[in-house]
Amino acid sequence: MSPAAMGLTTRQVARRAAQDIPDGSYVNLGIGLPELIALFIPDDREIVLHIENGLLGMGPSPEPGKGDPELINAGKKQVTTRPGASYFHQADSFAMIRGGHLDLSVLGALEVAANGDLANWSTGGEGAIPAVGGAMDLVSGVKAVYVITRHCTRDGTPKLVERCSYPLTGARVVDRVYTDLAVIDITPNGFEVVELSPGVSFDEVAARTAAPLGDARPA
C-alpha cells in the first residue's frame, strides 16, 4: 500500500468528523477542508452552523444563479440560510466566539503540537502576506477545538509534531485531530490514538507522527 493510498480520502475524513458532532450543537467550521463537514452531517441531527462574518444557521450552497453576493461564508463563498437563522454584526459574532457560546470549532492546520498548540495562520515565510482572520479568536473562545487535516504534508512531512515550528494560532487549544490515518486526542500525556482508519496500523500512524504517540483505543 503506497502512502498516498493509505487511509481515508479527504471527504471520508470530513464524514468521519461529522459523526462526532452532537445533535443541537452550535459549530463553526473553518475555511477549506473543515467546510466539507457540513456535507456529511447525519440527517437525524440538527446542527446550527455559525459563520463568523455574521450568520447563525448557515445552509448549503445556493443553486447556480440563485445566490446573493452579500450572503457569503467566511471563505467568501455564497451560502443560504436555514429556518431559525439570524444575522448579526461582527462584535456580536465574536462575542459568541470569545464568550464561549459555540460548542465546537473545527479548523485546518499547518501543524498541531502534542501539547495542543495549533499553527494554521502563517508559514512565517519571507514575502508571505500575514493574514489571521478569526482563527485566533476561535481557538481562544470556543468550548472545543477539533482539527481536521491530512496526517502529513504532500512531501510526507508530519503535521503532528512535538512543538510547532510555524507561528502559533493559539497555545494549548486543540482537543482532537481527525486525519486520513486516525482520530487522535490531545491529552495531558500528549497525542493518543482513539481510532485507526480502516487498514491502517498503529505503527504506521506512529511512523508518520513527529512526537510520541499513545494508544487509547478501546480494548
Binding site: G24, E46, V48, G84, Y87, F94, H101
Partner: protein, 236 residues
C-alpha cells in the same frame, strides 16, 4: 433536533440553586419577567446574588423575591422606587448587600461577561465615591476605572416573541438589559408572549440569536408590574 421550549416557568427555573447568581432583565416594569420571578419565589432558592437595574416595586416581582429573603446581594444601578420599601427596609436593617454600579457600567460589564472580555476601562465614575476600590489609569489624559465582567449562573428575561431555537425579539423599551443578560447567563431562560416555529422570525430583525438562550417558556399574557402594584397585589 433543537427545541428549547419548556412547559412552565416552574420547570424553567427548577435548576436554580442556593447561592447562584441570577441576572433579571427589566428597567422598571418594562421587560421584567414577573412570571419567572414568581416561579423562583415558589422554587425557593436562597442566598442568591441578583443582578438587575432596579430593586422592584410594590410587593410583587423582584420586590417580592427580595421580601421573601432569597436575595443576599443585589448588583444594581437604581435600587429605589416610589412604590416600594422592601429593599430599603432590608438594606437599612443590614440584611441585604448592595453593589451600586452606574447604569452604563452595569450594562457594559454584563455585555463584557457575555462577550468573553474579562475587564475594560471606562471614564464613568472616575473622581466620584464609586471609584473606591477600583484601579485608575489614564487614557488620552482622562482618568478611567478598570471594571470587571459580570456573568451569572442564570439569566431570567422577558421577550415578545421567541422561536423554538431561542431566537428573540422584544417589545419597545422592554428590550433594555435582556439581550446582554442572555449573553452573560450560563443558563438563560426567556419567557415570551408568543412562541413560533423556526422561520417565524425575520433573520434580519432577530435581536437575541438563539445561541444565547437555553430555555423558552410561553407566557401568553404576562402581568404588568404597575397594574399589580396599583391594585395592591402581593406575591405569593
Amino acid at each position: 433536533m433543537i427545541d428549547k421550549r419548556v412547559g412552565s416557568p416552574r420547570e424553567a427555573v427548577a435548576g436554580i440553586g442556593d447561592g447562584d447568581t441570577v441576572m433579571i432583565g427589566g428597567f422598571g416594569e418594562a421587560g421584567s419577567p414577573i412570571e419567572l420571578i414568581h416561579a423562583l419565589i415558589d422554587h425557593g432558592a436562597a442566598n442568591l446574588t441578583v443582578i438587575s437595574n432596579n430593586s422592584g416595586s410594590g410587593e410583587i416581582g423582584l420586590a417580592a423575591l427580595i421580601r421573601a429573603g432569597q436575595v443576599a446581594k443585589i448588583v444594581c444601578s437604581f435600587p429605589r422606587s416610589t412604590n416600594s420599601t422592601v429593599f430599603p427596609d432590608l438594606f437599612n436593617a443590614g440584611r441585604i448587600q448592595l453593589e451600586l454600579v452606574p447604569q452604563g457600567t452595569l450594562a457594559e460589564r454584563i455585555r463584557a461577561g457575555g462577550a468573553g472580555i474579562p475587564a475594560f476601562y471606562t471614564p464613568t465614575a472616575a473622581g466620584t465615591d464609586l471609584e473606591a476600590g477600583k484601579e485608575r489609569r489614564e487614557f488620552n489624559g482622562r482618568p478611567c476605572l478598570l471594571e470587571h465582567a459580570l456573568v451569572a449562573d442564570w439569566s431570567l428575561i422577558k421577550a415578545r416573541t421567541a422561536d423554538s431555537h431561542g431566537n428573540l425579539v422584544y417589545n419597545k423599551t422592554a428590550r433594555n438589559f435582556s439581550p446582554l443578560m442572555a449573553m452573560a447567563g450560563r443558563n438563560t431562560v426567556a419567557q415570551a408572549s408568543s412562541v413560533v416555529k423556526p422561520g417565524g422570525l425575520d433573520p434580519e430583525a432577530v435581536i437575541t440569536p438563539g445561541i444565547f438562550v437555553d430555555h423558552v417558556v410561553h407566557v401568553p399574557n404576562p402581568q404588568h408590574e404597575s397594574e399589580l402594584v396599583a391594585r395592591g397585589a402581593r406575591y405569593p
